[in-house]
């Protein structure tokens, strides 16, 4: 037998690499960050750590009698830290979530040391064009959770960020620190201060464009802001991306319950937010 044949036969065929898994994670911490939002930190197995900004996990939230949650709940990956081979620390996946119903109430009950089954990573994430030098990120409410890892991706790519963070009131603005840590120039706008109007956000975005610091626009979390950015992008010929939400059952593309109307290739199509999305080109979604 030749050495080549031998080494060929010795070469173990690696098991089929699955892009996603039911990752059984261990809860590290789970705290409120303000009156409305909680922050969940999980020690996660390797498949989960392959998540890219804009992708999501489908979370198996265990309801309790009287407050049942049956289906999984989709949640964007907020932060991710790879395993540290040197000190043996496991990789970390984090979520930032708003408690609204049975599923997120179940999440709020998770305690350190408990386990949590997260299916993923799923869907299409954000992408950066190598030609972009400056981008504008416009996030409303918990849409920030989705856009925070994009900011980190921009930093690594040497892309400058202008971030407009919108919320009901100043204390509900989140992850300003996360944004500033990656060198973003942050502007806060709120309902209570009267600064979050569409007109004011438009003024801010157009200001960045006038300065030549808006090669692309990104948004998540508000249909009003989506429509505004679509209008600006159309008028100014600027590309962009938006992360959409839709109710989901399977999260994998099988049940076709999560469709949104999207304009693509001259047609209006029903595309699955879980599979073709959640990130779409800014001009694609038919907003209402």
């Amino acid at each position: 037998m030749t050495a080549t044949a031998n080494s060929d036969s010795m070469a173990a065929t690696p098991p089929a690499p699955f892009a996603a898994a039911e990752n059984v994670c261990t809860v590290v911490s789970n705290h409120p960050v303000n009156a409305r939002y909680n922050h969940l930190v999980l020690a996660a197995p390797p498949t989960a750590l392959t998540a890219r900004p804009g992708q999501f996990f489908h979370l198996l939230c265990e309801g309790v009698p009287g407050d049942p949650a049956f289906l999984r709940r989709p949640m964007s990956v907020y932060r991710l830290r790879p395993a540290d081979g040197a000190d043996g620390a496991s990789g970390i996946v984090e979520f930032l979530y708003k408690v609204v119903g049975a599923g997120t109430r179940a999440m709020a009950r998770l305690e350190p040391g408990g386990s949590f089954n997260i299916l993923g990573p799923l869907g299409q994430g954000f992408h950066l064009d190598p030609g972009w030098r400056h981008v504008v990120i416009v996030a409303r409410g918990v849409g920030l959770a989705t856009l925070a890892p994009l900011a980190d991706m921009c930093r690594r790519a040497g892309v400058g960020i202008g971030a407009i963070l919108s919320a009901q009131s100043p204390e509900l603005i989140m992850a300003e620190d996360v944004m500033e840590a990656v060198g973003a120039e942050v502007v806060r706008v709120t309902d209570t201060e009267g600064t979050s109007t569409v007109a004011n956000v438009e003024r801010l975005v157009r200001g960045r464009i006038a300065e030549g610091r808006a090669d692309a626009l990104f948004t998540c979390g508000s249909n009003r802001l989506l429509m505004l950015l679509q209008k600006i992008a159309r008028q100014e010929g600027i590309p962009g991306q938006v992360a959409l939400e839709q109710q989901m059952a399977c999260g994998l593309g099988m049940c076709v319950c999560c469709v949104r109307q999207v304009r693509r290739g001259g047609q209006t199509l029903d595309l699955r937010v879980c599979r073709e999305g959640p990130v779409f080109e800014l001009e694609e979604p038919v907003s209402w």
Binding site: E22, F70, L71, L119, A249, L252, C255, D270
Partner: protein, 311 residues
């Protein structure tokens, strides 16, 4: 060695576990190896393009979910040209599920889908028949018999008739499907249902009414499998609310030769593979050589047979 294989209406399956139509697609290969399943079943396709229903298309209950997906479909040509090849990357027998608004359309679609790549056709006669005011074909024995006769005459493929639980005469419908030429029955589709948001007073589904699936419907469907299996000589495939291995055994005891798993896959895409492993271990532990030994093995004493139904 436990024999997990089952004979099913013209096909041999390596094991009795397969997905339910509409709850599965090749996309699952992101998470599991579909080659380990007993068979693959496609989402129901229609003859022409269908947009499907308005969202929200699903709503959950304590123990299950409602759906009104509305059979969105690119039509049969795209199904054959684009969808079937995606399934054919995998080795298990391929069952093509078809739906049609009229018996004529059922004939056309069954003719078209009778291609070598397809191993069996699941005729979804639980969908509405527009010639009967939108009532499902399988609600009545007469319409079941006539539509199954017509598709039988146009295809040599094994035909599986998918029945609806929304009927008061499941045994008659099952017999009619057999008489019409079905090689197996799938019992059953979803249970007609509704949910209302009491705050907004709005239906929770965009299409107002929908179909209930999941553990909430299991006892209803186990009863229907029992009634159907007693009424016919062809194999019955149990489908409704299977969450684990014990549910599979229960369906088989009631008379099912195999089962389909639907909603559970949304909660755990790995569930079908877990069930296959557990089923093998269970048979080994019980000293059962062939999983088929469970089929119809429910113990009902002769004097309990045919007791009048005063529930």
């Amino acid at each position: 060695m436990v024999d997990l294989s089952v004979q099913l209406g013209g096909l041999t399956l390596a094991n009795p576990i397969m997905p339910a139509s509409g709850t599965f697609s090749p996309d699952i290969a992101d998470v599991i190896d579909p080659n380990r399943l007993g068979a693959l079943v496609t989402k129901s396709t229609t003859l022409g393009f269908r947009a499907g229903n308005p969202t929200p298309r699903v709503s959950e209950t304590a123990d299950g979910m409602l759906n009104s997906i509305g059979l969105p479909s690119q039509g049969i040509d795209a199904f054959i040209g684009e969808v079937i090849p995606k399934y054919r990357r995998f080795t298990p027998p391929l069952v093509a599920s078809v739906s049609a608004d009229t018996p004529d359309e059922f004939v056309t679609i069954c003719e078209k889908v009778s291609i070598p790549a397809v191993d069996a056709i699941e005729v979804n006669i639980s969908c509405p028949n527009l010639e009967e005011g939108g009532r499902a074909y399988a609600m009545r024995a007469e319409s079941t018999l006539s539509v199954m006769r017509r598709v039988r005459a146009c295809s040599d493929k094994p035909l599986w008739a998918k029945l609806t639980p929304n009927t008061g005469e499941i045994a008659n419908v099952a017999r009619a499907a057999e008489e019409g030429g079905a090689d197996a029955l799938v019992v059953a589709n979803t249970v007609l249902a509704m949910a209302i948001d009491t705050e907004t007073r709005r239906p929770r589904l965009g299409n107002v009414m929908g179909g209930l699936s999941g553990p909430a419907i299991k006892p209803i469907v186990v009863g229907m499998v029992y009634q159907s299996a007693k009424a016919v000589g062809i194999p019955v495939i149990g489908c409704g609310g299977i969450m684990g291995t014990d549910d599979v055994v229960e369906y088989m005891l009631a008379g099912a030769a195999a089962v389909q798993v639907g909603t559970k896959t949304f909660l755990n895409p790995t569930a079908m593979l877990t069930i296959i492993e557990e089923l093998e271990a269970l048979c080994a532990a019980k000293g059962i050589n062939s999983v088929s030994e469970f089929t119809g093995a429910v113990v009902v004493e002769p004097e309990e047979e045919g007791l009048p139904l005063f529930a």
